[in-house]
Amino acid sequence: MNETRHPQLQLFWSFFRIGLFTFGGGYAMIPLIQREVIDRTGWIRREEFLDLLTLAQSVPGPIAVNTSVFVGYKLHGFRGAVAALCGTVLPSFAIILLIALFFAGFRQNPVVDAAFKGMRPAVVALIIGPVISLARGMHWSMFVIIIATALAIWGLGWSPIYILAAAAIAGITWELSIAPKAEKRKKGPNA
């Protein structure tokens, strides 16, 4: 890998491009990150990238942010991580700030108001979409948990944080105590 004088700057620009051209966030960013860090620069090997994605998803936070921090850190340590993170975040930060600066006046505009009245139900539909596709093919007991979680947060006003923590603890307990016994009885993946 050829070293330029400002490797951090190069990292920053790469992730700036990724941040600027990915709409919809999250998974939409993956092909772009792939092109930038594997094909164009060769920073990460293809086999490594899949592992990286799995890791980025097991750590909290936006996937794009996690990926950029990892790549930056691997190449140039803490400074690299910060440079890559700034590159990813800066485009959305600047664009939203511009919108926020002018949006207060915007929202009173009758045309913009009408447009938002149309977009609000559309947003809800876009949020429900992944619920259906993610839940498909799961064991029925998982549906009980999904519905119970939704009702507890929406109906009872429970904090999602406590439910997440409880689920993580339950998952670990299951993995350590019940899963080994279940595996002995029948070989194969569990739901």
Binding site: S92, I96, M119, A122, V131, A150, A168, I172
Partner: protein
């Protein structure tokens, strides 16, 4: 000052518990920003999600910047808004930065770790439930402020159904948002002119 501190803590929590990325974080953001602190209404929250869809970048970052600005503005000047947006954006990224560097150092140890795998498996259905809760709260809010409902008439439900079918058929979400904005202008703006 207290408001900016609360903002920092809220987004730190969102960043730290934001498992599953994007949509899963919506429920956390909604819980902190709409339910707990009432920094914005349910409709404003839907608006910022809509804006996030049609602008680049992760939803968590977009919402942090926007909410930070509006909350900062409540404490004073435009500069406070800028400060608020910087604080919230930093706070939401800080856990990612810290945890991901730790993971990068101990890469091989975490991969295939049973504790991590168990936790992920346990959280998976909960994350889906959280996304569903965010949608439910957008449709049926706990409080009704005048002009701040997301579903106002039967047109809302028609648009909802259309976009649901569209997203199921894998139509580009940006296109769906733009089309529904145009539909909104056609339905709600032009009839008032005639």
């Amino acid at each position: 000052m207290i408001l900016l501190w609360q903002l920092f803590v809220s987004y730190l929590k969102i960043g730290f518990f934001g498992f599953g990325g994007g949509y899963a974080m919506l429920s956390l953001i909604q819980n902190e920003v709409v339910v707990q602190h009432a920094w914005m209404t349910n409709a404003e929250f839907a608006d910022i999600v809509a804006i996030s869809q049609i602008t680049p970048g992760p939803i968590a970052i977009n919402s942090a910047t926007y909410v930070g600005y509006t909350v900062g503005l409540q404490t004073g000047h435009t500069w406070c808004g800028l400060l608020g947006s910087a604080i919230a954006t930093l706070a939401v990224c800080a856990p990612s930065l810290t945890l991901m560097i730790l993971v990068a150092r101990f890469f091989m140890k975490l991969k295939g770790n049973r504790l991590v795998e168990g936790a992920m498996r346990g959280m998976r259905p909960v994350v889906i439930g959280m996304i569903a809760a965010a949608a439910l709260l957008l449709i049926f809010p706990h409080t009704h402020a005048p002009g701040e409902d997301n579903f106002i008439d039967s047109w809302s439900w028609i648009l909802f159904g259309g976009v649901l079918i569209g997203s199921w058929r894998k139509v580009n979400p940006i296109l769906l948002i733009v089309l529904s904005a145009l539909a909104g202008i056609g339905i709600y703006y032009f009839p008032t002119l005639i």
